[in-house]
């Protein structure tokens, strides 16, 4: 039940951070097993605790792996675009955004993913990451700047 309840936001976080469904699935599985084995050590909110396990798993993976290009290969989500041109454009933007996100520093990527992909408020982010709203705003703003620099030539 805990898995069904918490897996979606955690999976989105891992997917946003790693850019790879396979890696995100592995991190999610490892994190849930770790959480289950240490359930007795939970102090405070379970969702924040398990989020930290997943977030640390993503950071460890980023430290260890030097990525070249990974994209969302498994696209079973319904498309809201109708014409082939729009579909092609969407696919291109998707892979370009993946590449641009991969070029960001992990802390900036984490802040951007939590704000834009996961749709969290700054207060919620500050609560989960144990930092201040001001610091997170700064990270998100810097991530946007960097992404716009990386993608602007093609899309702006």
């Amino acid at each position: 039940m805990l898995i069904a309840r918490y897996s979606d936001p955690l999976y989105r976080h891992a997917l946003g951070m790693t850019g790879s469904p396979d890696v995100a699935e592995d991190i999610l599985q490892t994190s849930f097993i770790k959480a289950y084995q240490h359930l007795g050590e939970v102090r405070g909110r379970f969702d924040a605790w398990v989020f930290r396990i997943v977030a640390n798993g993503c950071k460890d993976w980023l430290k260890n792996i030097r990525r070249t290009h990974l994209s969302y290969d498994e696209d079973d989500q319904p498309s809201s675009y109708s014409t082939p041109d729009e579909e092609l454009d969407r696919t291109e933007l998707r892979s370009d955004l993946d590449r641009a996100l991969a070029a960001l520093a992990p802390s900036l990527r984490e802040a951007f993913v939590m704000k834009h992909v996961e749709g969290r408020s700054y207060e919620e982010m500050a609560d989960l990451l144990g930092t201040t709203v001001g610091a997170l705003k700064m990270r998100v703003h810097r991530a946007r700047e960097a992404l716009q620099v990386l993608l602007e030539e093609k899309y702006a």
Binding site: I3, A4, S7, D8, L10, Y11, R12, L15, G16, P21, E25, L28, Q29, F32, I33, Y36, Q37, H38, L39, G40, E41, E74, D76, Q77, S80, R90, L93, R94, L97, H116, V117, E118, G119, Y122, K137, V140, H141, R144, E145, L147, Q148, V149, L151, E152, Y155, A156
Partner: protein
């Protein structure tokens, strides 16, 4: 090296090239992008949900169009769900043994049976007798 006290700002920057000044490279040849603000503060505020789109100016249109496209993509990613087979795989991978709560020794319940109580009492009496004997010998 001495500071040039006649320089307009009080000191000259340290030279590492033996004093020979190189002509400044044109800005267009710089490899490192200039740290100019690409996303205006009004657009940042709009993206943060702190300002309405109506507050944006005409000059921001390019940024708004760009971020609308990025937001459409991030909104699509927000709908991503954990594949069902992944949830099943995680369930199957969980250890069968129920995890035990780990608590510090001082929070654990202490059970005392008669044998332990008698042993503890005997130990205390022995310690008391030893201390008494030590005091008497002084």
């Amino acid at each position: 090296m001495f500071d040039n006290l006649n320089a307009p700002n009080g000191r000259e920057p340290a030279r590492r090239d033996g004093g020979a000044r190189q002509p400044a490279e044109p800005l267009t040849d710089r490899e490192v992008p200039l740290s100019i603000s690409r996303t205006p503060a009004t657009v940042q505020a709009w993206l943060d949900g702190e300002a309405a789109e109506s507050t944006l100016q005409g000059a921001d249109a390019r940024h708004v169009e760009f971020w609308a496209r990025v937001n459409a993509e991030t909104a699509r990613r927000r709908e991503v769900r954990t594949p069902v087979e992944v949830q099943q795989r995680i369930m199957a991978a969980l250890p069968l043994a129920t995890p035990q709560a780990v608590s510090p020794w001082y929070r654990r319940n202490v059970t005392v049976n008669p044998a332990v109580a008698i042993a503890a009492a005997a130990g205390l009496v022995a310690i008391g007798a030893a201390v008494g004997a030590a005091l008497r010998t002084r």
